[in-house]
């Protein structure tokens, strides 16, 4: 097994021309998907939203090494915040996104103050508990949230006053893609910054980081708040595009799916998160339409195979193959 040191990864991610290639690939893929699958824009948009969500979790699990199972908390709060804002305050989509982001950040900050003091199992349990409490609140506060029926009546004005949400979902697709793109750019800068390096250090050895004077706890809280902000944006996107929020936004299965997608693609790599989401959702979509009863087997075996043979996720596949060819020579 080839172990690539942290420094190497950072160097490659800081490189000049290598920086533009993935961006170009991303944009090409978006256009290709748009032209090749004009009938699946609804599904593709869902996938883009999920990518935003998984990338936000990548920052927390992949970079800072904090394993939680309650990431849906921020997603759900962002969704409800954006939904309620659209109904009661303003139907402007971008303002709604901002509100979702702020609420996601606030929830992440207050829960993070507690969560980031915990480790391992107790952290997992606490993060699940917080999400369940929020879900219970959403389902009890029927007058505000609509409870189990879902929050209805969300309607959006055109984005920037120009791009109206259309029936086929073209606007929604490009809207979600633009948001994902901006978030990726911001995150790339962030993970290559000293702050990003500190997170990697904390993941590898918290005690050493503490010894060199890094405020480990506050770094983790900061990472959690940034992750929460982005998760809130993902939730807001979903609320605006579906025009409905249900209590399932807090579902435990959602938090678990996100972790599976991330591990599948490769935690600690931004594009790993994208690949994981792409593969997971495509397999689920295709397998579920072929055999709705047994598609979970496919996902299960795929995950087993990846964890055993590609512990760094699908994104490490080219390097592994190259390594094997190199070893033969």
């Amino acid at each position: 097994m080839i172990r690539i040191s942290t420094i190497d990864i950072v160097r490659t991610s800081l490189g000049g021309t290598g920086k533009l290639l993935p961006v170009a690939i991303l944009i090409t893929c978006a256009f290709a998907a748009f032209w090749l699958f004009p009938y699946d824009l609804g599904f593709l948009t869902q996938m883009l939203i999920m990518m935003v969500f998984v990338v936000s979790f990548d920052l927390i699990l992949g970079y800072a090494g904090v394993a939680t199972l309650g990431h849906a908390a921020m997603y759900g709060c962002g969704a409800y915040a954006a939904g309620l804002f659209a109904i009661h305050a303003s139907p402007d989509p971008l303002l709604g996104l901002a509100v979702g982001a702020v609420i996601g950040a606030l929830i992440a900050f207050f829960s993070g103050l507690l969560l980031m003091r915990a480790h391992g199992l107790s952290l997992l349990m606490l993060s699940i508990a917080i999400t369940m409490v929020l879900q219970e609140i959403a389902s009890k506060a029927r007058d505000v949230t609509g409870g189990a029926d879902g929050l209805t009546g969300i309607s959006m004005t055109p984005i920037l006053g120009v791009f109206e949400f259309d029936f086929i979902g073209k606007t929604a697709f490009w809207y979600a893609f633009s948001v994902l793109f901006i978030i990726l750019v911001v995150l790339r800068v962030l993970v290559a910054s000293p702050f990003g390096l500190a997170l990697r250090g904390i993941k590898d050895s918290p005690s050493r980081m503490r010894a060199i004077g890094t405020p480990v706890y506050w770094r983790k809280v900061t990472a959690y708040v940034i992750g929460g902000t982005i998760a809130g944006i993902a939730g807001a996107l979903s609320a605006q595009i579906t025009s409905l929020v249900s209590v399932e936004a807090f579902n435990f299965a959602l938090s678990a799916d996100v972790m599976v997608m991330l591990i599948l693609g490769g935690a600690g790599r931004l594009y790993g998160a994208l690949i994981g989401t792409l593969v997971f959702m495509t397999v689920r979509h295709v397998a579920a339409s072929i055999d709705p009863f047994n598609w979970l087997f496919v996902i299960g075996f795929m995950l087993l195979a990846v964890v055993f043979f590609l512990p760094d996720g699908l994104i490490s596949l080219p390097r592994r193959v190259a390594g094997m060819i190199g070893a033969r020579k």
């Binding site: 699946d40 086929i168 249900s246 709705p292 009863f293």
Partner: protein, 387 residues
């Protein structure tokens, strides 16, 4: 000249015939439901009932072939439901949508069907307010108001004076509590206590104690069918409520797909509901026989009936209006027919099915448990639509 005329006539007839043939088309119906995960039973019941209907009535209406396309959404998931509806409408060009097991899944497609002017037939989702979100919604299942009010009226007529309501704490439960409570008090009864139980709990012993202490003579319960109902009825019989003379009245707790799992403790439970698979009519026997022939392991329940009547309604709408959504909805209003569950019709205002609500008691019938009907309340509309 005559030959020319004959030739022209022949050509005209041929053109007409060809034109007629070209008019016949394949009309697609998109069924959105849950086919995977813990709620997969909904999709399974829907699909089987549709297949039974097609086996009995063929797949052609006015020369048009009807094709059903099934889409899985994996549970209560409005995002997936909306994306599935988009895909069905845009790629498959479906002229009718159907299915919808959970309320949020139905609500999510309301803006789409309004824009596309495509009728959506709801086979289950039982919140009254759904039909207000779009004039293209028609429902063939039931609402909680529709069954809880007859339950209250029947209980009041049959000696219940003080009732305690015990419902699962989520929207359908609250609907049931309000519907039963208001109807029972209108009949002169008293609701002594309203208990709301957590949706996830399976430990009902403390609630049984509260029910006992409340001094009520009857408990009206609403729980989702499955593990919760199992635990509740178990607690009901183990804590001696039956012996203490506290009667039980419910609605859909004794669903045919889970009733056998409830076992002996379920015997004697009284419920008010719109369908039992042992309803005595020739139509229902024919339906059960066909279902048994195609799917030997299956048993019909209310979801099957929602889908079966839904399929009938779609056939009728196509027969009367083809693929014109607005016309089809107009045609559906006021339509009435004989269903395996009894006489039904579509109320023009609420676009919801008007049906008999039966009072049933759980009995043993050979190797299985059944809901035996012994009384009925006739032609009940959706009583919750105007609230």
């Amino acid at each position: 000249m005559r030959r020319l005329c004959a030739g022209l006539l022949a050509t005209a007839i041929a053109t007409f015939a060809l034109g007629g043939a070209a008019l016949a088309e394949t009309i697609k119906v998109g069924v959105i439901a849950t086919f995977s995960g813990p709620n997969a039973i909904w999709g399974k019941q829907f699909k089987e009932a549709i297949q039974v209907y097609v086996a009995q009535h063929g797949n052609e209406v006015n020369g048009n072939t009807i094709e059903f396309i099934y889409k899985d959404v994996g549970g209560p998931n409005p995002d997936a439901s909306k994306a599935a509806a988009q895909e069905l409408l845009i790629r498959e060009g479906v002229k009718y949508l159907a299915g919808f097991d959970f309320t949020p899944n139905a609500l999510a497609v309301a803006p789409l069907i309004n824009q596309a002017k495509v009728p959506a037939i709801i086979f289950n989702a039982a919140t009254s307010a759904i039909n207000k979100q779009s004039k293209y919604f028609v429902r063939t299942s039931f609402t909680l108001w529709q069954v809880a009010v007859p339950a209250a009226q029947w209980a009041a007529k049959n000696g219940a004076k003080k009732v305690v309501t015990a419902v699962s704490d989520y929207n359908p439960g609250i609907d049931a509590e309000t519907a039963f409570g208001s109807a029972f008090e209108q009949q002169g009864g008293t609701i002594v206590e309203k208990i709301r139980m957590p949706l996830q709990t399976t430990d009902f012993a403390p609630f049984m104690q509260r029910i006992k202490n409340s001094g009520a003579d009857t408990v009206f319960a609403f729980l989702p069918a499955g593990p919760a109902t199992f635990a509740f009825t178990k607690a009901y019989s183990e804590n001696g409520l039956k012996e203490a003379g506290i009667g039980f009245i419910g609605t859909g707790e004794t669903d045919e797909t889970t009733i056998d799992a409830l076992g002996e403790q379920a015997i004697g439970l009284t419920t008010a509901y719109h369908y039992s698979d042992v309803h005595t009519s020739d139509l229902n026997r024919a339906f059960a026989a066909k279902l048994g022939e195609l799917f030997p392991k299956s048993r019909a329940n209310m979801a099957s009936m929602g889908a079966y009547d839904g399929a009938h309604l779609i056939y009728k709408m196509i027969e009367l209006a083809g693929t014109d959504g607005d016309k089809a909805i107009e045609a559906a209003k006021g339509l009435s027919w004989e269903s395996p569950r009894g006489p039904v019709s579509i109320d023009p205002t609420s676009r919801h099915v008007v049906q008999n609500v039966y009072i049933r008691r759980v009995e043993r019938d050979g190797g299985r448990l059944v809901n035996r009907e012994f009384d009925l309340v006739k032609s009940v509309p959706d009583l919750g639509f105007d609230r």
